[in-house]
Symmetry: C2
């Protein structure tokens, strides 16, 4: 067994420090140019070699296989994965768990850090897998699917390590009692909760799964990864690399297993309700997230679910830059981000700007024009929008057209074979103030956005924060030139448990969440029952058992 | 507003360090002699003055009053408390919560530490209140109800402060981007989860409530304390002192409220299910704990419930000292501790000891004789046993007599007016090995214990750890002279999530749990869903919301 902990100790130390300081820090470079020459083309080659083949995770045997992934950019992947029964997965996990629970914290952390390092080295292959399952454009698939996801995994390791480090190993307890002090030797054991189930999503299969996967692993829980049937490959590659590291270190590779399934025969419910599963992490719909939360009463359940992210525009000192910034947020990955804004509140009487007064219609039109400008170059449009992951999203756009006045219509890009759609922007300026909440305060996942007239800025803030409390929200934005107004708004957003970005312009967007700095999901509104990047996300994944005995004289 | 944080900073620093080191440390002296002369008699006088009166929490008005506490040592207390409706309690809490959420972490921690200091100064009064509601004997009521409970409250403050301290206040985030780095100013806000409900128990009203009460307070959650109807006074005194400190610092005293109720008209369910309640802490029966866990799906619920604590006697090098140690553990507060052992597994063929081979019957008899010896002096018996808190426990002893062969019968002490009972010790040496589990593996709260014949020591360990996994257990003990046997047993106890004490003799007992060192309840078996003394107990009581905006140039 190698001393992987020591090998990666410097990285871990930096990660622990970064997660406390929360300034900018990244372990894994997001710039493709920082990687070895030829790595990108090697990734493409490796991806091409996987297509149309049986994916080899090791030890599969000759049983049934599943897999029907189709790239949102066109071709079916033709990759199959060994099917596994719930009973077989659990039996394997329980067997592997015995040794994993006995491993030291340092051994487990070392394995996790080595897996992350090897994942990083395979970032281009994983990027291809992410691109051709999620529909993310290449540059985003690389960053979000590769280094950014790895940073989030590392962040979870850092949190978990910090928490476990606070539990001493062996201590001498000596209580003064007059002439004869009482001396006990105490050993504190970090014990796992059970088997961890990580249920992946179709849009960010690695970025949204890595925190739970790595938090479970280092706290001693073995992991079953149940990918979304439409995005198996990124997590199959992850599990394969993990199993290789585990086996090389003498651990049972079934510490980390893949549970591929199909839409027709889903495994998630049967896995989640199996008594041996102690922890469940889920990213996806509120319907299934709610089912998990209600059904799994005595398990640890961490969810990231749906929400409606809002922007309030009260005033701005940079109208054009604001519109450009919002246009990018609405367009990036065609609005298929849990952090993308959907509903923009603007006073019915318009707003003050650096370009003079702008009416409600002028604000809406300004955002629409900015979207047009952003997407005017076809290559840039493709690189920003990517493709639409799920055909249902196209249908949703069609249905949404009737929910308001169309400021800017959605349209497909001219990209052969790809499923694409530019943002649909609707205005709601109802007779009854603020119109039909059922239209714009239901989550409409994808490139669908509303500009909604409100009485004034405080009304907008009140509606935005109420929506966050009631419907859930992961992000919110506010544009205002009035510092007093901003100061008054902040406690309302804090109470609503939603991260707030104020007056963003330029190259930073409300839908971006930076590892080691931003807390992703608050856990304080219906968009999720947990923050995915804090101590609470890791601290209850393990328990401590003390063994004490009289100290030898 | 005083700088209470600064005033108590040295104490907090020591507490944070102690909770990491987990050696012996206590903030509040357990020796009554460490307190000012006259404090004990002043406590008695103050208690006498409260009896037969309407308890004044401030601002009660003329409404209905409740309260029917009767001392297990005899007299009714005759104290009444202002009744409060659920709606009034919640409305008060919501109003008070606005300001409390805005207070800084340091302000809230300072208030908590000041409350603890004032509680400590009133330890003798609180001891009287604990003694005459729970039936604990005077010395125990002082220690467990006073300084030990205060230490546990302080421990929770230390944990919560450590976790909140990891969240920076304001940071500059600067991402290198070639010529134009992106600079954001970020503010991180610690936000509460809602209103905390703390449901107290009748045996350790302060010791079991303080961790939750103080963890909630310092993380920004206002608190409603719902005492057990039989033990209101200790928590009424606590809440009164807390409200005085809050008011003196300019906070709404309703940050901390008392919700007294009656057996006939209980408030706990209505309070727990109120949508404004975000956190519930409960100590008590598995029936109600289970109901809370199953019903309150989207609230934070921390429970300490029932369990069956076991001892396995494999062999011993100190037979007499072992028997004396176990006898004390069974007798202390008449077995009415969540940490008291109930079931003692002994090999049917007997064990090796320093006094030669002892048969199963000789081991059982040895423990019985040790109990007799411990309780032979009436004054010492009264000081060890205290009184029986609940008349139902006497009935339970009667019913238990038929569950095995009586090794040592229970009997009342000759104490005028007090409800007392010495331990009942039963032997189970069934025809079918290990007899009827329904007899000795159901929790039988009170001075009821079983010595159960098992095949051999490994069988005993297997049964003990299985019982912990299935029925729950907070403590376990093992006596063995075989180091290899001990080493083999430890992982089984760790997996069962139960704290293990090995070969205890002398002045330390399996049912003692030391603040800042022992983790009380593991959260890893049915005896409770949480550890009451770790980071996980506090980390999810608050959430973090980030507000970010472009940095000024």
């Amino acid at each position: 067994m190698d001393d992987l902990f020591q090998a990666h100790a410097a990285l871990l130390e930096k990660a622990v420090a970064a997660s406390r300081e929360r300034g900018f820090w990244a372990a894994f470079p997001e710039n493709p140019k920082a990687y070895p020459e030829g790595a990108a083309s090697a990734g493409k080659t490796a991806f091409a070699a996987l297509k149309g083949q049986a994916f080899d995770l090791g030890g599969e045997g000759e049983g049934a296989r599943v897999g029907a992934e189709v790239s949102p950019f066109g071709p079916a992947l033709g990759i199959t994965y060994a099917a596994r029964s719930v009973d077989a997965l659990v039996a394997n996990a329980e067997r592997a768990g015995e040794g994993w629970a006995q491993a030291s914290v340092e051994q487990r952390v070392g394995v996790a850090l080595e897996i992350l390092a090897r994942l990083n080295a395979e970032s281009f292959l994983i990027a291809e897998a992410v691109e051709h399952t999620t529909g993310q454009a290449g540059p985003m698939a690389f960053q979000a699917g590769g280094p950014h996801a790895q940073d989030r995994g590392l962040e979870a390791v850092a949190y978990a390590y910090a928490e476990m480090s606070r539990v001493p190993g062996a201590v001498r307890w000596e209580k003064p009692m007059g002439r004869a002090p009482i001396r006990l030797d105490k050993d504190f054991h970090v014990v796992p909760r059970g088997i961890g189930l990580v249920i992946g999503c179709a849009t960010f299969p690695t970025w949204n799964s890595y925190p739970a996967l790595f938090a479970d692993l280092v706290t001693g829980n073995v992991v079953i990864v149940k990918p979304h049937p439409a995005a198996i490959l990124p997590l199959a590659l992850t599990v394969k690399i993990g199993r290789e590291v585990l086996a090389a270190q003498g651990f049972d590779p079934d510490v980390l297993q893949l549970a591929p399934d199909t839409v027709e025969a889903p495994l998630a419910k049967d896995l989640a309700t199996h008594p041996a599963i102690g922890l469940v992490d889920f990213t996806g719909s509120s319907a299934f997230g709610g089912w998990l939360r209600e059904t799994l009463r005595d398990k640890l359940v961490f969810t990231e679910e749906a929400g409606v992210n809002t922007i309030v525009i009260a005033s701005t000192g940079a109208f054009a830059a604001m519109c450009a910034n919002i246009a990018f947020s609405l367009s990036l990955y065609s609005g298929q981000m849990c952090t993308a804004p959907q509903t923009i509140f603007v006073p019915a009487a318009g707003i003050a700007t650096d370009e003079g007064h702008k009416s409600f219609d002028e604000v809406a039109a300004g955002i629409g024009v900015a979207i047009d400008a952003l997407l005017s170059d076809p290559a840039r449009a493709a690189a920003v929008l990517g493709a639409i992951q799920n055909p249902a999203t196209l249908a949703r756009i069609d249905e949404a057209r009737g929910l308001g006045r169309i400021v800017r219509d959605s349209a497909a890009l001219q990209v052969e074979g790809a499923r694409t759609a530019t943002p649909l922007l609707l205005a709601v300026e109802a007779q009854d103030e603020a119109g039909d909440e059922a239209a714009y305060l239901e989550e409409r996942f994808g490139p669908i956005a509303f500009v909604v007239a409100v009485k004034d800025a405080p009304d907008g803030v009140a509606r935005a924060t109420r929506a966050a409390r009631q419907k859930g929200a992961i992000t919110a934005a506010l544009y205002s030139t009035d510092e007093a107004e901003i100061a008054r708004a902040i406690p309302a957003y804090a109470k609503a448990g939603v991260a707030l970005s104020v007056n963003l312009t330029g190259g930073i967007y409300v839908n971006q969440s930076a590892a080691f700095s931003d807390y992703h999901v608050s856990g304080a509104n219906p968009a999720g029952n947990a923050c995915m990047t804090d101590a609470a996300f890791v601290a209850s994944r393990f328990r401590v058992v003390c063994v004490r005995r009289p100290a030898a004289a």
